[in-house]
């Protein structure tokens, strides 16, 4: 569509002015507080591209309203004449432009001695003071439109904050510099040194070639199942109901789901690169939207190595992880087993993926026929590893130092066959279960696991 005609008349101020130390005791995390008067908040503005991007918000509201009630919107559209349309646009465009401009004008950020401050909002003002030493990770994302315009979005991950604070948009070079500075400051560099220390060196561990990614997606059952559903269900519905709206209402989500599972995943996981750097593992990926994430070492709670049935011949695996307070869940979309295990060893220091797992006793087949063979357990000096699933094998690893509590459960049927399950709860809300163990072994496991997680924590704490 068209872009608002307003151009910001004030260039962003170069560089942050040094701030006097904050007199008040600042909140430990991002705290919403009534900000000081606009004049007293020095700092930088975002990139002048921002208002153009933000101006889409009123349009999005209109489109959302139209999508909410399609038939009503159609009736309204039929009544519209050319002059009314023009008049509407004449109101809409300046309104959008004004909104975009104002929201840009009133957003400022500054890096002080101890904090990153972001102030946003025209009517409802929000000032976030983020303590630099609490910053866990800074992600740079570049959506397609932003890539064309040469800008980037900065997302700041803080312990305990439910949602990430965003700085969108910054110039690409500025975003990179700010990210390096924030991470250097979070790592404890002095303010002056942090500006010059630059980005921490990284060396590449793995890169997924486009061919293997395409092949891996083609060999995933879910991709084909969703495609099949999208192709079979709508004709069937048409045959049954002959109602166009019902068919469309079902077909569109199905097609969308199929697209997201195949092409969408390919586009999102394209050129997946994992590299090692002092502040954690860096992940870069995306064909259209480039995303740059950091997985901080030591905050990974569990790691899962997933092995779908059709990948097994090729020896490929997928690695997923759970990080406390983060939504990142995929570490490696597809890689040969040996390479994936090397990456796992980087993300969980000192951990080797156990190769041999012990099966449950044979009588477990009475409780869970056939599928009992998929269960397995291995406990090493550093991790508790349990596998389940027969066709799609999932091996979950929890370092002993991350165990929050250990539970043993035994139902009546399991009791009859002298079996029990041991659950290990980790911090990211994930529970790893070693199912169908011999009852005596499970009781011993419970005791030993409590002991191991205690000593594991001690060791992790002292080192």
């Amino acid at each position: 569509m068209n872009t608002p005609g307003t151009t910001p008349d004030a260039a962003p101020e170069p560089g942050a002015a040094p701030l006097p130390p904050d007199d008040a005791v600042s909140a430990p995390e991002a705290a919403a507080a009534p900000g000081p008067a606009p004049q007293t908040f020095p700092g930088r503005r975002l990139h002048p591209f921002t208002p153009f991007r933000r101006a889409w918000a009123p349009v999005a509201v209109l489109v959302g309203w139209a999508g909410h009630d399609p038939s009503g919107a159609q009736r309204q559209l039929e009544r519209l004449t050319g002059s009314m349309l023009l008049a509407g646009l004449a109101v809409l465009i300046p309104a959008a432009a004004l909104y975009g401009f104002l929201s840009w004008w009133f957003t400022r950020f500054a890096v002080t001695d101890s904090e990153l401050r972001i102030r946003t909002g025209l009517l409802f003002r929000r000032t976030a003071h983020i303590r630099l030493e609490r910053i866990q990770a800074v992600d740079v994302t570049r959506p397609l439109v932003a890539r064309i315009a040469g800008v980037a979005k900065l997302r700041i991950d803080v312990v305990g904050a439910a949602k990430k604070d965003e700085l969108s948009f910054l110039g690409e070079r500025e975003a990179r510099a700010l990210r390096a500075e924030l991470l250097a400051r979070a790592a404890g560099f002095a303010p002056d040194a942090a500006r010059t220390v630059g980005e921490a060196p990284a060396h590449r561990l793995l890169r997924v070639p486009p061919r293997s990614l395409a092949l891996a997606l083609a060999l995933t059952g879910a991709t084909w199942a969703s495609l099949l559903a999208a192709l079979v269900v709508p004709p069937l519905l048409w045959f049954l109901t002959h109602s166009l709206w019902t068919v469309l209402g079902v077909a569109l989500p199905l097609l969308g789901g199929a697209g997201a599972r195949s092409a969408g995943r390919y586009v999102a996981e394209y050129d997946w690169t994992v590299s090692d750097s002092p502040d954690g593992l860096r992940i870069d990926h995306g064909l259209l939207d480039r995303t740059h994430e950091t997985v901080p070492r030591g905050r990974v709670q569990t790691v899962r190595i997933v092995e779908p049935l059709l990948w097994r011949r090729l020896g490929w695996v997928r690695v997923e992880l759970d990080v406390a307070g983060s939504a990142n869940s995929v570490l490696v979309p597809v890689a040969p087993r040996a390479v994936a295990e090397e990456v796992v060893a980087r993300v969980l220091p000192g951990v080797t993926v156990p190769a041999v797992l012990s099966r449950p006793p044979r009588r477990a087949g009475r409780v869970l026929p056939v599928w009992w063979r998929g269960h397995g357990l291995a406990v090493t000096g550093t991790v508790f590893a349990a596998r389940h699933g027969l066709l799609r094998r999932r091996l979950s690893l929890v370092p002993h130092a991350k165990v929050q509590s250990v539970r043993l459960t035994r139902g009546p049927w399991q009791r009859l066959w002298r079996l029990a399950s041991v659950h290990v709860d980790s911090g990211a809300g994930r529970t790893v279960t070693a199912g169908l163990r011999d009852a005596a072994e499970a009781a011993l496991l419970l005791r030993e696991q409590a002991e191991r997680s205690r000593t594991g924590r001690r060791r992790a704490g002292s080192s």
Binding site: A401, V403, S405, G411, R454
Partner: protein, 191 residues
């Protein structure tokens, strides 16, 4: 049936630092982690909890039996009043189950972790290391208070941790809370 558990005075255990009761209780000696091989000292729940649950059960049983007996007796003939026997039988069965369940509950404080064991048919045993406790909560509803009981609930960073003791004598609950908080601070390990 347990209506008295919800609500009540939630006490934020992280503030309690006083009340060092180290003397009489059967703690397993603080001499480090060498005592884990020994069998822990188990404690049972107070009989007041069983009494409270059975009283509530009896109340509900009588109510249901009256309903099941009087209504059919009035509308369908006096013979139908015998249907009151069904709630009575169920109540009797639940009476026995409550006793069994109450006997199965026990907990033990070890040098470095708290053990909670419960359930007969569906047995569950939980181990929570002191260093992992984020919050210790003591709750007591109106019915619980009437019977001189208080429940204690432990929270860790994992949502799946369901370490709770439904009824304790308030002094014991407070002692446990203070001790757990104290040990949790000493052995704190965070995430």
């Amino acid at each position: 049936m347990e209506t008295g558990r919800a609500g009540g005075a939630g006490t934020d255990g992280t503030q309690g630092d006083g009340g060092t009761h180290d003397g009489d209780d059967g703690t397993q000696g603080d001499g480090g982690g060498t005592c884990t091989g020994a069998e822990p000292v188990w404690r049972a729940l107070p009989p007041g909890l069983l009494r409270m649950r059975r009283l509530l059960l009896a109340l509900w049983t009588v109510l249901l039996a009256l309903l099941a007996g009087v209504l059919p007796g009035l509308f369908a003939g006096p013979a139908w009043a015998a249907s009151a026997l069904l709630p009575c039988a169920l109540g009797g069965w639940a009476w026995w189950l409550l006793g069994r369940n109450w006997r199965s509950w026990r907990y033990a404080e070890r040098a470095d972790d708290l053990l909670i064991s419960r359930g007969v048919l569906w047995h569950e045993e939980t181990v929570v290391p002191y260093g992992r406790m984020q919050l210790v909560e003591v709750t007591s509803g109106p019915v619980q208070r009437r019977f001189g009981l208080a429940g204690i609930q432990l929270h860790t960073a994992a949502a799946a941790t369901d370490a709770a003791i439904p009824g304790l004598v308030p002094e014991e609950a407070e002692r446990l809370r203070d001790r757990l908080t104290e040990l949790g601070e000493a052995r704190s390990a965070g995430l």
